[in-house]
């Protein structure tokens, strides 16, 4: 890619960024927050005081220590430890990593899948559309817990299985959304023109329909992301989520719940607050993006 293109692209992005976030301090804070969380998640193995996956370094004798305690290995647990001796700070960093990884993978794959199927439904119509849209209906009435439990029973526990479950949970709403916006788009004359010009269906789909009907889905993306983080947390709470030795934020909260009444607040509250903060930051950004993309929602006054 030539230098000029990159420059132009980054100019556009910068401009976009400015129109969306400048003069919106809350949204900007949200964006910075999201950035920080992602950074912490990426750097967790280097900045976390302890590797909570390394069973060699964990010791139940270090369990349930309050914040600022010293561990047997000499490290300080700034935010205390959980029952099996994991440093909460480190575990939350790693948990953030798992939560974000799971949510990002699921939303990206689920969205691509959903958009493609939605476009296909809109373009082809007929029985293809029927099958896809009824599959959407089917998914809506299928409980996530049963789906996750089925995957777990068939393929065993694992972070990847949770991602599959969430992908299946994500694609349907995207397909529905894409289809309806693509249907409106197809009423427009240029599609007819393209058809008359003899363009193949898949070309019409990728060249015209995709870019013109993807906007509502893109606008919803951050929302889907925070939704997926919450869904993963719920699955973990119900015992069909990520493995206990690789806890996500949700699993950490669920684990710590047992201690909420006992005054050992740090085990559940810390990951809980981090999760809420993360989701909140994403949602604040999401709100702003949605607002920006909806001409009716510009605040006046």
């Amino acid at each position: 890619m030539p230098m000029s293109t990159i420059k132009r692209m980054s100019n556009i992005l910068w401009h976009q960024y400015k129109t969306i976030f400048a003069h919106y301090p809350l949204a900007l804070m949200g964006l910075v927050g999201v950035g920080l969380f992602i950074l912490v998640a990426l750097l967790a193995p280097w900045i976390a005081p302890q590797n909570p996956y390394d069973l060699m370094t964990l010791d139940i004798m270090d369990g349930l220590l309050p914040p600022m305690s010293k561990l047997g290995t000499g490290t300080t647990a700034w935010l205390g430890t959980d029952a099996v001796g994991r440093d909460i700070l480190s575990t939350v960093m790693y948990g953030l990593r798992i939560s974000l990884f799971v949510a990002f993978s699921a939303v990206i794959v689920g969205t691509i899948l959903g958009v493609l199927l939605g476009l296909l439904a809109a373009l082809k119509g007929g029985w293809i559309e029927t099958i896809i849209m009824r599959a959407v209906d089917l998914k809506v009435s299928f409980p996530g817990i049963l789906l996750a439990l089925m995957l777990l029973a068939m393929f065993g526990t694992g972070v990847d299985k949770v991602i599959y479950a969430l992908i299946i949970g994500t694609w349907a709403s995207k397909a529905r959304l894409t289809r309806s916006s693509a249907l409106s788009e197809m009423q427009k004359e240029y599609i007819d023109a393209a058809r008359l010009a003899g363009l193949a269906n898949w070309r019409i789909m990728l060249r015209f329909l995709l870019p013109n009907s993807i906007a509502p889905v893109l606008v919803m993306l951050p929302m889907s992301l925070s939704g997926a983080i919450g869904a993963e947390a719920t699955l973990s709470f119900l015992g069909v989520g990520v493995p206990i030795t690789e806890p996500s934020l949700g699993l950490l909260i669920a684990n710590g719940n047992d201690y909420l009444l006992s005054g050992k607040w740090w085990i559940s509250i810390v990951p809980g607050l981090v999760l809420v903060a993360l989701v909140l930051c994403i949602n604040v950004v999401a709100d702003r993006i949605r607002e920006h993309n909806n001409p009716f929602l510009q605040p006046r006054g």
Partner: protein, 533 residues
């Protein structure tokens, strides 16, 4: 006739509930951790259901060997068990309790309601006859020596023969026909209409959500129940259950988490009672297979087949730390596979020790200093703090050089995996309601259909000495002698370690501090364990 009884029972119920509402303080509200599913006493032996039913019905002998409807029992010979029944006992409907009711109850147990077996039918299969000797003596005859029969019969709740139509005298047979022309229907049982026992409480209402209201039976043969009224609810989530206690919804909740108990320490209004239970938590190791599923060694062998490895695994685990740190002290370090305080066990066996250095040495000696990889399977919603204990064990095994991956799954998935023998190493618990030999006779004996040994031998363990001792135990009606065989077998199991005993779980109840609770070891929650201070 029967209808009159029912009316009478209803009248008694109404009367005593009136009484209860006037003396509202004498109501006990308990929260179970799982919902009772029925008030048919023979349908399910699951703990919550059995707990509820114990309020309404009584057996001949209690689970802790206290005389209930039988004042005593003895083996007349190897195949005849005599029960001497209590006199002057009446059912809730007013009918007098006689030997005929015992025969009827045995018939009802064997009878397939809607074609479905009841829980004791296989346990009773060696029983050839149940005979009325006189009004207050009844004899069980078996085909062959069957020493566990008294233990099994602790689940035979006694129902009143007045609820059925039949021609006198009842003739026992193992299809449950017994000359009975009409049994109450399943629906009549499940609705509580036929919930007519001799127990300390009568059933006022039962909902299929498991909620049950009971009132004191004023005509009980003892001085009767401690409470005018008992309300049983079930709350599965432990936090919510505890919150219910703290919010004043309940007077007593079962199975609080260790963690929640700490919150009670500072509050004078609440306290807790912990009682060592008959449940042992242990690991099962596949020692007999060529390849143990999920367990590998560098040289391709099954490392669990090597006794030194098994000893090392046992030595690697710091049971005391688990008990202290994870169980809040509310568990007992194991010395064997049944609780050492369970009847028949040898209480003098030494606790299993912790010595990681020796464990490493043993592994090295066996040629497995490194290279063992192990999947540790554990249910994630079954045992108190189960997944945390499993994580601790994973830590300990890792420290002696074993690469552990922990697989925690919901109970349903776990049980299917176990049935399919997908597990080389798994964590499990056994409640021992029928004595100290129960678990080892099922889990470590070679399969013997005649003697009902080795039904769940997931260890694939076979040892001639062990089998010989168990085979003698299985036919010995003399208690002393049978305990001797059991202890010999247990010694072999502890020396050979086809599994790793971990600890004995305690049952815990959290309750208002103005209550005295005398806990039971069989994990059941009964209103009369509880009395006002």
């Amino acid at each position: 006739m029967q209808i009159n009884y029912l009316k009478l029972a209803a009248a008694v119920g109404v009367f005593s509930s009136l009484l209860a509402s006037s003396a509202g303080a004498d109501t006990l509200r308990m929260a179970y951790s799982a919902a009772p599913s029925t008030v048919d006493p023979f349908k399910s032996s699951a703990s919550p259901t059995a707990s509820l039913n114990e309020h309404i019905y009584e057996a001949l002998v209690s689970r802790t060997d206290q005389p209930l409807l039988a004042t005593s029992y003895e083996w007349q010979d190897n195949t005849t068990l005599l029960f001497h029944l209590r006199e002057g006992v009446t059912f809730h409907n007013g009918a007098a309790f006689t030997a005929q009711d015992v025969v009827y109850s045995a018939c009802r147990m064997m009878y397939r309601v809607d074609g479905k077996k009841n829980m004791l039918t296989s346990a009773m299969s060696p029983v050839t006859d149940v005979k009325v000797i006189d009004d207050h003596t009844v004899a069980f005859t078996t085909l062959k020596a069957y020493p566990v029969l008294p233990e099994k019969l602790k689940s035979l709740s006694i129902l009143s023969a007045s609820q059925a139509d039949f021609t006198v005298p009842l003739q026992y047979d193992n299809t449950g026909d017994c000359g009975i022309t009409r049994y109450p229907t399943r629906a009549q049982f499940e609705s509580g209409e036929m919930a007519n026992g001799t127990g300390k409480y009568t059933l006022e209402s039962f909902a299929n959500t498991g909620d049950a209201d009971l009132v004191r039976n004023p005509n009980h043969w003892s001085d009767g129940g401690n409470w005018d009224r008992v309300e049983i609810r079930s709350v599965k989530n432990s936090g919510a259950r505890m919150a219910g206690l703290l919010a004043g919804d309940f007077n007593l909740v079962e199975n609080p988490t260790m963690e929640d108990l700490e919150s009670l320490k500072d509050d004078a209004a609440y306290s807790s009672t912990s009682t060592p239970s008959w449940r042992t938590i242990f690991l099962i190791l596949d020692v007999g297979s060529e390849q143990a599923p999920g367990v590998t060694a560098a040289d391709g062998s099954n490392p669990l087949a090597d006794l030194r490895v098994r000893k090392a695994l046992s030595l690697a685990v710091n049971r005391e730390a688990i008990v202290e740190r994870l169980m809040g002290g509310m568990a007992t370090v194991a010395s064997q596979f049944s609780p050492s305080y369970r009847e028949g066990a040898d209480p003098t066996m030494p606790d299993l020790t912790y010595d990681p250095e020796q464990a490493k040495a043993l592994l090295a000696e066996a040629g497995y200093a490194t290279g063992i990889k192990m999947e540790l399977n554990v249910p994630n919603d079954r045992y108190i703090n189960g997944t945390r204990v499993a994580q601790a064990i994973a830590q300990y095994f890792t420290r002696v050089g074993i690469e552990v991956s922990l697989k925690a799954e919901p109970w349903s998935v776990f049980k299917k995996g176990r049935k399919n023998r997908d597990f080389g190493v798994f964590m499990y618990g056994w409640g021992h309601p029928q004595g100290a030999a129960q678990m080892i006779s099922y889990a470590f004996a070679s399969r013997n259909k005649d003697l009902n040994l080795g039904v769940s031998n997931y260890s694939n363990y076979h040892n001639a000495d062990f089998d010989a001792a168990m085979e003698k135990w299985a036919v010995e009606t003399d208690k002393q002698a049978s305990h001797g065989y059991l202890q010999a077998a247990m010694q072999v199991a502890v020396d050979e370690l086809p599994g790793i005993p971990l600890y004995y779980q305690h049952s815990i109840w959290a309750h208002d501090s103005n209550l005295t609770v005398v806990g039971r070891p069989d994990e059941r929650t009964f209103a009369d364990m509880v009395s006002p201070k």
